[in-house]
């Protein structure tokens, strides 16, 4: 129940990667010789698969080491150091870090529902604004931002829009060509592909300065030898997109079943807008119980969940996302994120509900 952190590798992905993890096989996609050409073919086939899954052009795809790098490439690559950059208070830390590193930046607040208002963006735009970076589907709460409205505004004002779609890709259908956006970040391991690979789609005509330079790879926009096995796996994961999307309605029903069962818990509250949300994510706070303690208790009971983004875990600070939504420190600390995936079943959900009830009761008794 922690699929927003990472997803299990699909069999098709494993098979595609295996071909490139054979001892003795040469796999530099930049080499001119026969082996190099085979690797190049694989990389380009994957690029086609990713482009097709995103609904963009093949040449618009830049493979990266993952979403963090893609986010940084979009933000650092598309803006000059003195240009104004805007993002929101509920972003992934990789975006916040990059935006905050720019001297001239604005961080938009969100409402209690976790959504950013288009009006507040309109107010924040200045003559010097070059880029807006928005997380489409929030990794902690599942809340979706109104990308179309935000994109239309950016178009009107001649500002670039970068969208972090890591959690949305594979969960909601979209075609980048049809959206008023300029760049989009996606990641392999959030959609049953491998870790260590992601991509930035960049609309034709948007100029980008590479953050990693010194090689001609990725049409000079991302230097470094291609990770052929991971890219092959990412391509295979993208090939599965139609099947993955067809699962989402069932997953949404499971999520609703989970909430139906948990809503009975005394002092529980659901965090974030339920009407505009990823189909798989449920973020709740149990009042009077620390999220950290819940996580441990649930793990010992065989239920894997998260208290927010896994990146801040290990040492738990109250979630910046929930704090930005105006939750009290206590509620933010009591937050638990359930994020479902294709392998979850109704029986599992029922079992999870019963174990959560047990753990909450024991925690409250001990307190």
């Amino acid at each position: 129940m922690d699929h927003n952190a990472t997803t299990p590798l699909a069999m098709e992905v494993y098979n595609a990667m295996q071909d490139w993890l054979i001892p003795g096989r040469v796999q530099n996609a930049s080499s001119v010789h026969m082996e190099g050409r085979a690797a190049r073919d694989t990389v380009e086939e994957s690029r086609e698969s990713v482009a097709q899954a995103l609904g963009g052009k093949t040449r618009e795809i830049i493979f990266t080491s993952g979403a963090t790098e893609a986010n940084h490439l979009a933000i650092y690559g598309a803006t000059e150091a003195d240009e104004h950059v805007i993002t929101t208070a509920v972003e992934h830390p990789s975006v916040l870090a990059a935006v905050e590193a720019r001297a001239d930046h604005s961080i938009l607040p969100v409402g209690v529902d976790g959504r950013v208002s288009v009006a507040s963006l309109a107010d924040a735009l200045t003559e010097k604004t070059r880029l807006v970076s928005i997380l489409w589907g929030n990794n902690e709460t599942g809340v979706l931002q109104d990308i179309e409205a935000i994109g239309r505004l950016c178009r009107e004002r001649n500002v670039l829009l970068h969208v972090d779609a890591v959690q949305v890709f594979g969960r909601l259908p979209f075609r980048v060509a049809d959206l008023p956006i300029d760049m989009i970040t996606v990641s392999g391991h959030k959609m049953y592909g491998p870790q260590g690979v992601g991509a930035l789609w960049v609309r034709t005509g948007v100029s980008l300065v590479p953050t990693l330079s010194g090689g001609h790879q990725e049409r000079g926009r991302r230097a470094g030898t291609e990770n052929v096995a991971a890219i092959a796996g990412f391509g295979a994961a993208c090939e599965r997109l139609p099947a993955l999307l067809s699962e989402q309605e069932r997953i949404a029903q499971l999520r609703d079943r989970l909430w139906g069962g948990l809503a009975a818990v005394d002092g529980i509250q659901r965090n974030g807008c339920a009407d505009a949300a990823l189909p798989n994510t449920l973020n709740v706070s149990f009042s009077g119980v620390e999220g950290e303690a819940m996580l441990m208790g649930l793990d010992l009971a065989g239920v894997s969940v998260s208290s927010g983004s896994a990146c801040t875990a290990g040492s738990l600070e109250p979630s910046h996302v929930l704090m930005a939504m105006g939750l009290s420190g206590q509620h933010a600390r009591g937050a638990v994120r359930f994020s479902l995936g294709t392998q979850n079943t109704a029986e599992e959900v029922d079992e999870v509900i019963s174990r959560v009830l047990d753990v909450v009761e024991r925690m409250r008794r001990a307190a």
């Binding site: 441990m296 208790g297 010992l300 040492s315 738990l316 925690m363 008794r365 001990a366 307190a367």
Partner: protein
Amino acid sequence: MKERVVVAMSGGVDSSVVAGLLVEQGYDVVGITMHLSDVPEKVLEEDQQGTCCAPDDARDARRVAAKLGIPHYVVNYKEQFRKSVMDRFVEDYQRGLTPSPCVRCNDELKFKALLERSLSLGAKYLATGHYAKVIRTESGTELHRAVNEKKDQSYFLFGAPRAALDQVLFPLGNMTKEEVRAHATRLNLTVANKPESQDICFVPDGDYAGFVERQITPEPGVIEDEEGNVLGEHGGIHRFTIGQRRGLGLPGGTPKKFVIGISAGDGRIVVGNDTSLMADGLVADRCNWIGPPPAKNTPVLARCRHRSVPVPAVVTACDEQELTIRFEDPFRAIAPGQAVVLYDANVPTRVLGGGWIIRAIDANQEAAA
């Protein structure tokens, strides 16, 4: 079903062996490392290691847990630790006291927050790598010194409420350090040869004054003798502790002097001869008793700082809160802010409890009073 035990794993050899032994004994062991403070990178020298509770130690603990095949978690107690231990450490120095942060950490973090967390996870016990013993008798749980005199940590544990002791295990209470290291080697734990942690975990370089000065602006004051003659100046009372001889910065040729008094109100440091350090007794408050408070005239053994040998004394007044004792022979350099821990004179390993020293009693003062 196996009984669950939470082990407070610091990443050091002691608590790692505790986890390993409890796994062998068939418990359902869960490892927890407390994340207490972030030591600034610049304070850490490359060759410094083995301070408890730093991120590297959490990693060591995690690796030991993985080796033992037990679940392991890091819990964030930074805020509580800052408030109840680090801030208090600075405040104590500001008030002219000699702080005892390890006792406070045990009282507020280990045997309170972590114990509560352990119980909420369904554990029957919280186990730690302390060198001390709990003995469960018909009249209640008792706390005793470790068999290993050199390692005994019972002094740091006096503040644990009896109800907490009911729920703790100290599996190393009967072992020597060599035996512990032998177990670590036998269990193939990577931390077997890790050096001991020595200093206070949040001041790994041992520079307490420097730590205090990063938190507050020190106020200079004067150093004077018992007659009130000013002998010199100092950079802040936090640099001194009762009985201190070095670092007084007095002009050359001044006869050997010791700090005998710290006056927080006006920032005075009073120095005097060794004889002025001798106390006949002491008064302590905020006591904790493991059992009923000792009655008046009870002979006890009193330990007034860690690593000092408990000395014979008699209880002259005592209730739940406050304690007064008189030493059989005058005792040197009583430092307010430190704990006094009493042991049973008849069963010298048994901890009766103790309190926080508020002042020494010396014969002259009493005659005057």
